[in-house]
């Protein structure tokens, strides 16, 4: 019998996993455009093409792992790492006052606002909680 906490954790895993799979697929579709959007952050522009190649499939795999028993914590840990990176990036963009497109879900994701930062912090908190939570329901 699953506890309420287990059910909630599974719902969060499904939502967060789905979100990351969607974000990864949309970024894969936008291709070179995503590299330009990363470069626009003006953090490490020379790394932009490499990040644009590697990040989308990592997001998809981590999102899928989040709902596979035995891989859930690993998926959550991976997503936590990604979200730390994303949150730092969007926060520095806001603090520097740069107006760039987010690129969070491929092209036309809209500009980065403090709501983008708040959303990333919320997702980061959820992912961190899931990465600390046991993979299997208590017996």
């Amino acid at each position: 019998m699953l506890s309420l906490g287990d059910v909630l954790a599974n719902v969060v895993r499904a939502v967060l996993g789905g979100l990351f799979v969607l974000a990864g697929v949309l970024k894969l579709q936008s291709g070179g455009q995503f590299a330009i959007e990363i470069a626009n952050y003006q953090l490490f522009p020379s790394l932009a093409p490499y990040l644009a190649v590697a990040l989308p499939p990592i997001e998809v795999l981590a999102g899928v792992a989040l709902v596979i028993p035995g891989w859930r914590r690993a998926g959550a840990l991976c997503i936590t790492g990604l979200l730390v990176m994303f949150t730092v990036a969007v926060t520095t963009v806001r603090l520097r006052g740069i107006n760039v497109d987010c690129g969070c879900f491929g092209g036309d994701s809209g500009p980065i606002t403090w709501w983008t930062v708040a959303r990333d912090v919320l997702l980061l908190a959820l992912a961190a909680l899931l990465s600390l939570r046991s993979d299997r329901p208590k017996a």
């Binding site: 330009i36 626009n40 490499y50 190649v53 499939p57 990592i58 792992a65 914590r73 006052g97």
Partner: protein, 174 residues
Amino acid sequence: MTHTMPRAMAIAVLGALVGVGFNAVRRDGIRPSSFAPPAVCDGESQKQAGLISPAEAASLCGRTDVLVADARTPARFAEGHVAGAVHLPCQGDADATVLALDRLRGHHTVIVYGDSTSEAQAVAASILRREPALDVRVLAGGFPAWSQAGQACASGPCESCEVTLPATSTAPLP
């Protein structure tokens, strides 16, 4: 869970490898060696663009190899701009930036202007860094000097700019 960290690393490594493989086979894949980040607005350049007076700039208007580019906000552009000028989307989405850079390449001379000389200088320097062969000039005194000199102006949004941000935002130039 001693397997968590190695498995998370495995996801990251496998994802990166899948990405490299997928990128290699797709026709529009990213080529890191030839990737040039858009740099219209970052102001990092050793080269300085020369100044051009409103009268001299006006004498170049109408030449097909000369492009006049507005480096101000979309809102300021809509309020009034040099007739025939294109808007450089310093705060716009990446699509618009790429489009603007493509436009610049087809010209011999690009005259950049802002609300002041200094506003346009950083943008002009960035264009020079990206397109060193271009003859990039900065309109001395910016748009105020142009309109005070009684040169041709137009108003209205830039139809091809597709700038996605609020019209009230301002562009901080580093």
